[in-house]
Amino acid sequence: MADFGKHVGVRILDLFFLRNGKDKREVRLTPMLVFIQKTFWKFLFNREADHLEQHAQEAKIYYIIERECLVNKFISVPKDKGTLNCASFVAGIVEGILCTSGFTCKVHALQGPRGTTYVIDFAQSVMDRESRLDAK
């Protein structure tokens, strides 16, 4: 499921830039995540994602939280397929976008009490680059 999403994600970013005539790329991590949460989510689902948080101890893990995921709205999971979560498709899209713009990461979708949570785990190289750019 996530692979399908990744396939979509790498293409949709360029398409979005083309259609909206944007020519300012995001180079830093936080603006990029905010961009995904607000602008991109609106582009995809006509709504902004509800929360964007960073993990308390590990700086390289971020969470995007949505109360109601569009993809999961009309899906009911039978008992024997308990671990299936269609939000992994959306997680794949996010991973595709981030990886293709240079922020290598892994994204997982979890179902929690506050809604659907996308856990974004960035590679160490991304964090190193961020701190290097911060220092300059």
Partner: protein, 144 residues
């Protein structure tokens, strides 16, 4: 006598050549043609480092001039998807900087249309004849 006036290359995420083409120019001997081709690739690769530096500082997609090698100037365009378009020229095309920017933007559009093809794997070399013809048409329109 240079056998081509402009050299355009699309570089993928792993620094591999996705697409390259020589545009414009008068006819020259075959020997100098292959010499120039190697030189062009060399200049392009050398400029990649500078483009990488610049792309993480600048949010603009079009980086005008990143490098100069003897008489060859390198211009870069970085896409949202992290792909790098490099354009080498000796003299500015007759339509100037704007023409160059238009050329790069239109090639970007063509590239995105190619990208939307589910059979095309991103970062693989582009072998499509249609894409090639499209780029030549855009070049004729914008810079030649």
């Amino acid at each position: 006598m240079a056998s081509s006036n402009y050299y355009f290359v699309i570089v993928g995420h792993a620094d591999q050549v996705v697409y390259e083409v020589e545009l414009g120019g008068s006819t020259g001997q075959t020997v100098s043609a292959s010499d120039n081709r190697h030189l062009n690739q060399f200049i392009a690769h050398a400029a990649l480092d500078l483009v990488d530096e610049a792309m993480w500082r600048n949010t603009t997609t079009y980086l005008k001039q990143v490098d100069k090698f003897n008489e060859w100037t390198v211009s870069a365009y970085v896409t949202a998807g992290g792909l790098r378009f490099l354009f080498l020229y000796e003299h500015l095309p007759r339509t100037g900087e704007d023409g160059l920017k238009n050329f790069l933007t239109e090639v970007y559009e063509t590239y995105v249309k190619l990208l939307l093809n589910p059979f095309y794997v991103p970062d693989k070399p582009i072998r499509s004849g249609a894409f090639d013809k499209k780029v030549q048409t855009i070049a004729r329109k914008c810079i030649l």
